[in-house]
């Protein structure tokens, strides 16, 4: 039953005549307003004000009490949380109080030029006169209230229950509210404030404690743990343990009983969609698409090839024709001029062009390129300039020669590499065969050996890596910043560089500066530069390739093998992603269920150095006048518990047990709960305001201004009529 508000506007304000009092229970958590003599307050809302900014128009508006949270989406509430007019149980911010009264009277249906009704409003026990005066002033000045009376909520509640016959006219009221708890003794129906006591612990502290504990326990769900939600959890699940120590031991041992007492709040959670393997249809569709694309590519390539062949054939035809023509021409001069007109320097060039075109045509048509021997044979012809000394050649020919030299060397190199590759492959094949043979001979031992070798190699590599990077691979790429992290050692090269740098830095001005006289001096800069750090980083070394080979081999033949399982390389792997489960979205309430309300009995749990509820009874009894015989027993035989924080299951039993501890054996103890711990104070106040004598209890505006502050301080509502 969390947070019931009643904020419909009442329509019958006009039907009450001006002497009919309005009753307000101004509690720190709830504001209740209604008409005297009625059994229920007309309007109830949370005693808070928010001043958010409207998102579109940007104006700051005032929102009082609890409203449908959905509607608040139009407002920017980030700047202003809910604010209360109360500090502890005393009203101190009267601007907020005014907003609240505005809203309360508005919803009660007030529509005349002023509030022309006497008002009975509750306050805390021993309210500071400043607060009382300000409240009276506000009611008189702003609302035009004719007369006001102040009473204490706990007293009204006690008296109301006394009228119902639940408690006698002499007894104790234990009231635990939102911010404070009181124990107020009553003698012959009048509260004895001299003997009352207050501890600054209440429902607010319980909720806050629970909220803090849960948000520390579940930092991921902090957004779900709103004040309202936690308040609901508190009301639903919290209880008071008969004995904290034994109750907590149940949980510490992990008993079955504790398990039953554990509550779980499942947060909304939808399982993440499981990735289904693609259906056959999907696979087929994808394959078809791929096929289609490759088909198109093939077609394009084909078209390109045919166009190239066409082109080459044309060129070939042209060249053939040219050569035909050349045969017809006999004179050299004419040949030269003829060739020049066609763009060729000599006959040989034209012929070589012809050969080139023929060859590329063949290649394009996919025919076998003439074998290498043939190329070799033609090599002498191809590189015809190489053997001729430079001084016999013209500039053009020199250029040509250089080209030929280059061409020749590259082709040769290519061939050599090819040969080497072939050799290597053969070697490998041989090795493999040898190994296979070894394996066939003794597979167990072979595997063992392989493993041992793997381990040895990987360890070696690991060590080398450690030495080289010296753990500063955490620094990113080989310390770009130049700085080396705390506690990381430098490798030898880095140390040397550091030494050089420091000596260079501190050497200045000492003695004669002879630096630079020798050429070697300048080598220093080379050593200082950072480049010589990573000289052997680029080429993968032999061990690494060997390791890779062995690991791949092991993977082939050993099903139990995992690369890097022994070398500790797995530590650097990222932690595997664990899919979130239902359990991750649960908020478990175990010990918290009774740990939080326990602050009412042990305020030192939350660092408040005051007595708890049970001890307060003792304090209050000690403060009572001692001349009345048997007063204490009378008191303890009529104890009324009231206020919102006494609704926890187990409250009465715990109080009874606690009071028994501080009273002598055989003391009559009777603890009763108020009929409605939350509403009773308003109802009690309503009864008082409706009584005939009520007008004598109120004071008017003129009284207030004429009699002054001292009078207001001594103002006391009389509860016995």
């Amino acid at each position: 039953m969390p947070f019931i508000s009643k904020i419909e506007r009442q329509s019958d304000y006009g039907s009450f005549n001006s002497s009919h009092p309005i009753v307000i229970d101004n509690g720190a958590s709830y504001f209740r307003i209604g008409w005297a003599g009625e059994n229920e307050p007309r309007v109830i809302f949370r005693n808070i004000v928010q001043r958010p900014r409207h998102k579109t128009t940007g104006e700051t508006v005032t929102v009082v009490g609890d409203h449908n949270p959905v509607l608040l989406k139009y407002f920017d509430c980030t700047r202003s949380g809910p604010r209360s007019a109360f500090e502890s149980n005393v009203v101190y911010q009267f601007e907020i109080m005014e907003y609240i009264l505005d809203f309360g009277f508005d919803r009660l249906g007030a529509d005349q030029s002023q509030i022309d009704h006497p008002i009975l409003i509750t306050e805390c026990a021993c309210n500071p006169v400043q607060s009382r005066g300000k409240m009276a002033e506000l009611l008189f000045e702003s609302y035009g209230v004719p007369s006001v009376a102040f009473g204490v909520d706990a007293a009204f509640s006690y008296k109301y229950n006394q009228q119902l016959g639940i408690c006698s006219d002499t007894g104790l009221a234990i009231t635990s509210g939102f911010t404070t708890s009181h124990v107020i003794p009553f003698i012959n129906g009048e509260p004895v404030y001299e003997a009352c006591c207050r501890t600054n612990v209440g429902g607010y502290h319980v909720t806050d404690y629970l909220k803090q504990l849960l948000s520390l326990k579940y930092p991921h769900h902090i957004s779900k743990l709103t004040w309202e939600r936690v308040e609901e959890l508190k009301m639903e699940h919290c209880y008071i343990a008969a004995d904290y120590a034994s109750e907590v031991q149940l949980f510490q041992r992990g008993d079955k009983e504790a398990e039953d007492k554990t509550r779980c709040w499942q947060l909304p959670w939808t399982p993440s969609p499981v990735e289904e393997p693609p259906s056959e249809e999907e696979i087929a569709r994808k394959a078809a698409l791929k096929e289609k694309q490759s088909q198109r590519l093939r077609e394009m390539a084909e078209a390109k090839r045919s166009s190239k062949i066409n082109e080459l054939e044309n060129e070939l035809k042209g060249l053939e024709f040219l050569l035909e023509e050349l045969k017809d021409i006999e004179e050299d001069d004419e040949i030269v001029s003829f060739l020049a007109s066609r763009g060729y320097a000599s006959k040989r060039e034209a012929e070589s062009a012809f050969a080139k075109v023929t060859q590329s045509l063949r290649k394009a048509k996919g025919e076998q390129v003439p074998s290498e021997e043939k190329v070799d044979i033609s090599a002498a012809e191809k590189y015809y300039l190489i053997d001729i000394p430079d001084d016999e050649l013209s500039a053009e020919q020199l250029k040509e020669k250089r080209r030929q030299v280059f061409l020749k060397s590259t082709t040769e190199a290519r061939q050599r590499a090819k040969q080497r590759r072939l050799d290597e492959e053969l070697e490998k094949e041989k090795e493999k065969k040898l190994e296979e043979q070894k394996r066939m001979e003794n597979p167990e031992r072979y595997l063992e050996q392989l493993r041992a070798k793997y381990k040895e190699l990987s360890e070696k590599l690991e060590q080398r890596k450690r030495l080289k990077t010296n753990g500063n691979n955490a620094n990113g790429n080989n310390n770009v910043s130049g700085g080396v992290g705390r506690g990381e050692r430098l490798n030898a090269a880095q140390r040397e560089r550091m030494r050089l740098l420091t000596t260079a830095a501190f050497d200045r001005g000492k003695g004669e500066d002879t630096f630079g006289q020798r050429d070697e001096d300048w080598q220093l800069y080379k050593l200082m530069s950072r480049d010589n750090d990573d000289d052997d980083d680029d080429k993968p070394d032999h061990d690494e390739t060997e390791l890779a080979r062995i690991s791949s081999r092991l993977r082939e033949i050993d099903p139990t093998f995992f690369p890097g399982s022994e070398s500790g390389a797995s530590a650097s792997e990222a932690p595997r992603f664990r899919p979130l489960t239902k359990e991750d979205f649960q908020i478990i309430l175990g010990v918290e269920r009774f740990r939080c309300p326990e602050v009412l009995f042990n305020p030192n749990f939350i660092g408040i150095d005051q007595s708890g509820l049970d001890e307060m009874v003792g304090v209050s009894l000690r403060r009572l006048p001692s001349w009345v015989q048997g007063l204490e027993d009378k008191m303890t035989s009529s104890i009324l518990v009231t206020g919102g924080s006494c609704l926890y299951p187990g409250m009465g039993e715990r109080l009874e047990a606690g009071i028994q501890m501080i009273r002598p054996c055989g003391t009559p103890i009777k603890v009763v709960r108020a009929t409605d711990p939350i509403m009773d104070s308003w109802r009690g106040a309503s009864v008082y305001a409706a009584a005939m004598q009520f007008p004598q209890q109120t004071f008017s505006r003129t009284d207030y201004y004429e009699k002054g502050e001292d009078w207001l301080r001594s103002y006391k509502f009389r509860y016995t009529i």
């Binding site: 505005d102 400043q130 030192n604």
Partner: protein, 124 residues
Amino acid sequence: MEREVLEAELVLPTHMKFKKIQMYDKYPKGQARGRHWKHLKQIIQAENYENYPPHLPTYVNIETPPSMHPGKKICDITGFEAPYFDPRTKLRYANTEVFKTIRSLPNDYVQRYLALRNAAVVLR
């Protein structure tokens, strides 16, 4: 303003027919006004309670004195009874498992746990 907001009468009207002094007159808009209220501490101080006869009940002297019983020591994390105290984090703990967790807690969490019982280090 949106229709549903208006329908719910979420926003408090600025003008109230039943008031003799309106809010906007009392607290004019756009005018800087300092803090015009007193905190409870200041209120209490202004009351000059020390000038009153001691038997008169006041807001201050009705407060409960500190508890006569030694404070129950509970584990800051679990709420179990805590026989141990960690001098490094200043947290109380119940057993070795809790000790492990408190030693792995980041400092701000430690401070928040301490703040729960008003024992956190407050820098001023």
